[in-house]
Amino acid sequence: MHLFSRIVRHLALVLILLMTLWAVLFFYAMMDEIRDEADDSLEHYSAVIISRVLAGRELPQLGDGSNNSYKLMPVSQEYAASHPHLAYHDENFLIADKGEEEPARVITTIFSDDAGQYYELKVATPTFEKNDLFESIAIWIVVLYVGLLLVVLAVIALVLYRNMHPLYALLDWLESYRPGCKPKPLPGETRIKEFRKLRMALQRAIERSELMLERQAQFIGDASHELQTPLAIIGNRIEWLMNSDSLTEEEATELYKIHQTLLRAVRLNKTLLLLTKIDNHQFPESTDVDIVQLIRDYIENYGEVFESRGVTFRVDLPEQYVVHMNESLAQTLVNNLIKNTYIHAPEQSVAHVELREGVMTISNEGVESLDAEHVFDRFYKASKKHTSTGLGLALVAAVCRLYDMPLEYGFEQGRHRFTVKF
């Protein structure tokens, strides 16, 4: 989950709970206050009536436009004694203005006049007014709180987005970074201290890793380079010995085997040098290269060499396909893929090569998928073929990397498949 949406979601959850609770509390407090106010006004009205009754003055007319109604009844002393003198309750009451019974809030007061006569006074105000009020308060609370919630969340989201922007810019950059390629300048210039520190740390880490990579490549290059002369000397001395007439067959055969091993070391060394040179971009000159011709040449050439394995190629190639790249690198690319197929395809099987719309696909039968993660790594060897250097596909990958050509390995329907997009 995005950090951004996670923060917003959590805040939303907490805010919804808190604000709902707050809204409910507020609503009930409001209702209580309103009911209190209504009761107070009823009490005031009944006090007015009682004082008029006691003073013997004319009572207020019913139906004077206020919704209040009242009912005055003389009651017995026993009734008075057995009932509370002041009571509030809700009941249906005949509202004078409307002339019908309505649910109402009623205050009942029992009092006596100077003559000791007890009266019961009921003053009522219809509850629909209060309910109307509650209803509109409830609606407004909901509207306002939901609105508030949305506004708050929107503001939070906006602020987060604005402030997190450098982080996302750095992440995007980091994702696009490929070791060994010259990195683009770091984005995310900001005044936020943490992000500034992160950016600096990132910068330093990348610089360090670039330096390490460079040193490593340099080391491999230097080491292979330094090895060349001693290897050449050993080789030449062996060749010299092998040409000597005084050797016995046994000695000569032993020398031949040593020479074979040495040749392997020489090839390994040459390949490492080539890899280093590709990675160091030391193949600047490009020409127009016909890939189709290269494929045909190598199939023919290695077809002869690996004839004993009985691997044949089915080709699906256009007349020609010209690519602008370094010729010897194009050769390295095609050469290694074709040779690889001849060596690793099962005996007497049919391999397939096709070039369509700039995509070259080479496939051959196989038993199980190779490790797609590492198949292009240096010294990855799926089989224990002693003559293999384990660098062929690494070379292919290095060439593709240099020219930004997508290179893929897949295993489908029992076939290994290598794809290069020119």
Binding site: A232, H259, N301, N335
Partner: protein, 227 residues
């Protein structure tokens, strides 16, 4: 034929001079830039083998120096730096050939021979052994003056051997030279045997006085038939 070897590595220098002496050349050596500089100024050589990475200077400067002196000595650049710039620069500035390290001594001798021959005839290069003549530029072979038609690989093999007569050539080296870098990764050398067989048959049918003989099952040698 006088050859100067300018090489700082003592072991490599020894091998190069031993091989060349065996081929009948007169060999002199120089080990540093300064020594080489004074040597080339004072003497003339038929061929100079120049290592361009010398401890006290760049061999390419030495090449310029030789040309500035107006000398016509043949120069073969020998370099561990297999870089195109060096090669292009060297060839443009009057080097006759460029040989990257590591090399087979047979290769070295073949190059020296070819450079010297080119210097002499100034025409089309011809390799001659016995009654066989091979012209690499026109890719033609004649036996006792009669043209002999050959397939591409057969020609390449013969060309390789003609450049290093009387030298044993390891079959994996031959395979790599004719079929390319990875040929010796093959399980066997059937492809090579087949071509050698055809080549031998064609040579003997045409009455060539040279023969390809096997050496202990791992190599071949081209030599003149003993009559």
């Amino acid at each position: 034929m006088k050859i100067l070897i300018i090489e700082d590595d003592p072991s490599l220098r020894e091998i190069m001079s031993r091989e060349l002496k065996q081929e009948g050349y007169v060999v002199e050596v120089a080990t540093t830039f300064v020594e080489a500089d004074s040597t080339v100024a004072g003497y003339s050589y038929d061929c100079i083998l120049l290592d361009i990475m010398l401890p006290d200077g760049n061999g390419l400067h030495l090449l310029e120096h030789i040309r500035n002196l107006g000398k016509r000595d043949n120069v073969i650049i020998v370099s561990a730096r297999d870089s195109l710039e060096d090669k292009v620069y060297g060839l443009e500035n009057g080097a006759d050939d460029y040989l990257p390290k590591p090399f087979h001594t047979a290769e070295l001798i073949a190059r020296v021979r070819s450079v010297l021959r080119r210097g002499r005839t100034a025409g089309e290069l011809e390799l001659v052994l016995g009654n066989v003549t091979l012209r690499p530029d026109s890719r033609s072979v004649t036996v006792a003056g009669e043209p002999l038609t050959m397939l591409k690989k057969e020609f390449d093999i013969l060309f390789y051997f003609m450049q290093r007569p009387h030298h044993m050539v390891d079959k994996s080296v031959l395979a790599e030279a004719v079929w390319g870098d990875y040929a010796d990764e093959s399980d066997n050398f059937q492809f090579l045997y087949a071509q050698i067989k055809n080549l031998r048959r064609k040579l003997s049918q045409a009455g060539a006085t040279i023969e390809l003989s096997a050496v202990y099952g791992f190599g071949y040698k081209l030599s003149e038939k003993e009559s």
